[in-house]
């Protein structure tokens, strides 16, 4: 599979808005959304919680998914290979 490692959006991406979800709710949302993606696919997330700029990079480090771009409240996360 061709990897989409670009910081720019592509038509293969999935987008979602998790609103004000923060802390555990944000992690649960991210996990649920990522579970429906294929490896290498990118999730564009809009996350407005004030903790998101710290939490989303941390969640990516914990889970191994790739953080391609972070410009609060917009984030691009690439699903890891299995």
């Amino acid at each position: 599979m061709k990897m989409n490692a670009s910081a720019e959006p592509s038509e293969c991406d999935v987008s979602c808005d998790v609103g004000d979800a923060g802390c555990g709710d944000l992690a649960v949302e991210l996990k649920a959304r990522m579970s429906s993606l294929r490896p290498g696919q990118v999730l564009n997330v809009t996350a407005r919680d004030p903790g998101a700029p710290e939490d989303i990079p941390a969640w990516c480090r914990l889970t191994g998914h790739g953080l391609l771009a972070a410009r609060h409240p917009e984030y691009r996360i690439q699903k890891k290979e299995n």
Partner: protein, 120 residues
């Protein structure tokens, strides 16, 4: 990144704020691929009973029942302190999903090898 995480909770409706935040944090751990246990002891064991948390809703948070359901769905486990449970005469046949009544050995085993634990 694998690893374990424990959240220790000693209250229920006597401090619904603590009980709620404990499960918010437990959900953060479970959804971050940690093998997560919520250890209920003291008054916290009341949360092991189906229906008990149904009317707990702290302002600014999701309802406690939803948080607990989400935790169980993510594979989180709830360890329920056996002596605390027995002292309160609770019902073994009415445990919420993911809950198991355990003694100290089970908890100590889980906490071995430097597992972090956060207390509420």
């Amino acid at each position: 990144m694998a690893g374990r995480f424990c959240v220790s909770l000693t209250c229920a409706k006597d401090d619904a704020d603590r009980a709620t935040v404990a499960f918010v944090v437990a959900n953060a751990a479970a959804a971050s691929d940690k093998e997560t246990v919520v250890f209920l002891s003291i008054e916290g064991v009341r949360l092991s009973q189906k229906g008990y948390a149904d009317d707990v809703r702290e302002a600014g948070f999701a309802p406690l029942k939803d948080l607990m359901d989400s935790f169980a769905k993510a594979g989180g486990k709830i360890y329920v302190c056996s002596p605390c449970f027995k002292k309160r005469g609770l019902d073994e046949g009415n445990l919420v999903p993911g809950a198991a009544i355990v003694g100290g050995a089970k908890l100590v085993e889980f906490l071995g090898e430097g597992t972090p634990s956060l207390s509420y």
